[in-house]
């Protein structure tokens, strides 16, 4: 009865648009009241959920990304990507994807990527003769690479939920992120050849060098983050804060495009974004504690295993569920609610937790570009001044490409686990 109340309140709350954080709190409170458990448990669990060492790095990584985003990196990264791939047919589409991959290594957020790169690339592509729907679609699709390629807030959350080190999680996303990018580049090239999109003149190796020189200080941040985490000389929190200081110095004094008067606002906005994530984690800790006390993850695992214990089918079922949930729910919220129950199921059929964590994040990223709640889709359609439907149609080939990569990562564990086990055995 108590569990039925928990889920009834939870589903009703989501359905009528109550924030996920509050829905988790309301359903947990209803459960506790029905179970006659004192409500003082909830503040304790909320505190314990937020007071987790790994989560300390979240505000720093968000701040580093926001500082870089406001510090003049967009044009420099686009110029570098354009020098590399702009001469191929559909070159501006490829530039868009390449820039997203590089951008993802710096800011790690899909929406920032869609807004920043889209703001420059979508008008540019339209001017060069690309259809507006294609321009918006390629920007939206490629922005999902951001949170796969390190650094990545969803990967930090998964690290906190599973106990896997942040360094390992970041490395696990590297190969799938590159695969996603390359897959979308191939798709873009095929579409461009079929629809005879334009290409640019080859600008020579000199331009690649000059563009790299311009983007170097921004690109170096990815190196600093990975070096800090993987060498063991700094904790994830220290790495994130040092990256923020670095982003501030590069934006304000090297590129000189970060207005100092904006810095307090950027820091505060980053704090508010981080607070929203941390509050979600705190309230989810109460919900998660109830699920574990009621042995719900075990019951889900047992229920599915009574139908099939074939790992191929179980992975497929997990992926379909995550894709469906990802269509309606924001990535981090979906991860926090579903990760632990599904991890029990995945490990029961022999899936490595690191492997599961990687394809779960990858899967939920795809949801950012699917209707009805694909945030990146809305951002890019807005920039292109288009209704949603033509962009949804144009994004289909890229969605297909991302789904193929998802299946590859789901069924070839080495794509996720090889790099972390080589570097951090």
């Amino acid at each position: 009865m108590e569990v039925a109340v928990l889920f009834a309140v939870f589903i009703a709350g989501l359905f009528i648009g109550i924030p996920v954080t509050i829905t988790l709190g309301l359903s947990s409170m209803a459960y506790l009241l029905f179970s006659d458990i004192p409500l003082v448990v909830m503040p304790q669990k909320i505190y314990a959920g937020i007071d987790v060492f790994v989560l300390l790095s979240i505000p720093g990584f968000i701040l580093a990304g926001n500082l870089m985003n406001n510090g003049g990196i967009t044009e420099r990264i686009i110029r570098f990507a354009n020098a590399l791939v702009g001469w191929i047919r559909g070159g501006l589409g490829l530039t868009n994807i390449g820039a997203s991959m590089l951008f993802g290594g710096i800011t790690g957020t899909a929406v920032a990527d869609a807004a920043s790169i889209g703001g420059v690339m979508i008008p540019g592509m339209k001017k060069a003769g690309y259809p507006a729907d294609f321009s918006a679609a390629v920007t939206a699709a490629s922005s999902t690479v951001g949170p796969i390629i390190p650094p990545s807030v969803p990967m930090i959350i998964v690290g906190a939920l599973s106990g896997i080190s942040v360094g390992k999680m970041f490395l696990a996303g590297a190969v799938p992120g590159i695969l996603m990018g390359v897959g979308m580049m191939v798709t873009c090239y095929v579409v461009s050849v079929r629809r005879n999109f334009p290409k640019q003149e080859w600008q020579g190796v000199g331009e690649i060098g000059r563009a790299f020189g311009g983007a170097f200080w921004a690109l170096a941040m990815t190196g600093i983050i990975l070096y800090g985490l993987l060498s063991g000389i700094a904790t994830p929190t220290e790495t994130a804060i040092v990256a923020s200081v670095y982003a501030f110095i590069v934006g304000a004094f090297v590129y000189r495009e970060l207005p100092l008067r904006l810095v307090p606002k950027i820091v505060t906005d980053s704090a508010v974004s981080a607070a929203a994530i941390l509050a979600l984690v705190g309230f989810a800790n109460v919900f998660g504690w109830i699920l574990v006390s009621e042995r719900i993850p075990q019951a889900i695992a047992d229920g599915v295993l009574s139908i099939t214990d074939n790992p191929i089918l179980v992975i497929l079922m997990i992926n379909i569920l995550l894709l469906f949930i990802g269509m309606f729910m924001e990535t981090i919220a979906a991860l926090i609610i579903l990760f632990v129950p599904l991890l029990s199921l995945a490990t029961a059929v022999g899936v490595d937790p690191l492997h599961f964590a990687t394809f779960a994040v990858l899967n939920l990223m795809i949801g950012l570009t699917t209707p009805p709640v694909g945030v990146c889709l809305f951002v890019c359609a807005g920039i292109a001044k288009l209704p949603l439907t033509p962009v949804v149609r144009a994004i289909f080939p890229f969605l297909l490409s991302n789904l193929i990569v998802l299946l590859m990562v789901s069924y070839i564990p080495a794509l996720a686990t090889w790099l972390p086990t080589q570097i951090l055995p």
């Binding site: 989501l14 937020i50 804060i241 941390l278």
Partner: protein
Amino acid sequence: MLRRLNSFMTGLCRAGALTAFAVLIFAVLLQVVGRTIGTSPVWTEELTRFALIYLTAFGVGVALLTGDLVNVDAFCDALPGEWPRYLRMFASAATAVLCLALLPGAGKYVKIGMLQNSPAMAMPMEFIHFSVWLLLAMLAAFGILRFCLDWARIDYRRPMTGEEE
């Protein structure tokens, strides 16, 4: 009146979140610099954790207004007429009710903290546990504020700060 209250509450909480973030950055940098030149103070890691919880407490209410506290709006935003506004008001009321119901429990949790000091800084844990009470109080206050703003049909989705007013 409501606009001014919104501006005041948002400005106050943004200032609190900024201060907590500044403390967090200071503590982490002190830790890094200290370790580089010798040994870092033992209390920096503890201060970082406390700053993070206060950052959450101050920032979460503003996040409710800015939409950073995400919801599943696929269904309710598709409803006709005034329904999305009514559902937002219901969500705000539910937020306030939840947090007000949890405040007495949070008060007890603060009292439990009176019996302990933090290991490194020897800070009374009641001050640290108070962050959860503050988080819930802020959410309740901003829930009520959002309800009133929707009631009065005032657009609050643009982040408001004191200086913008």
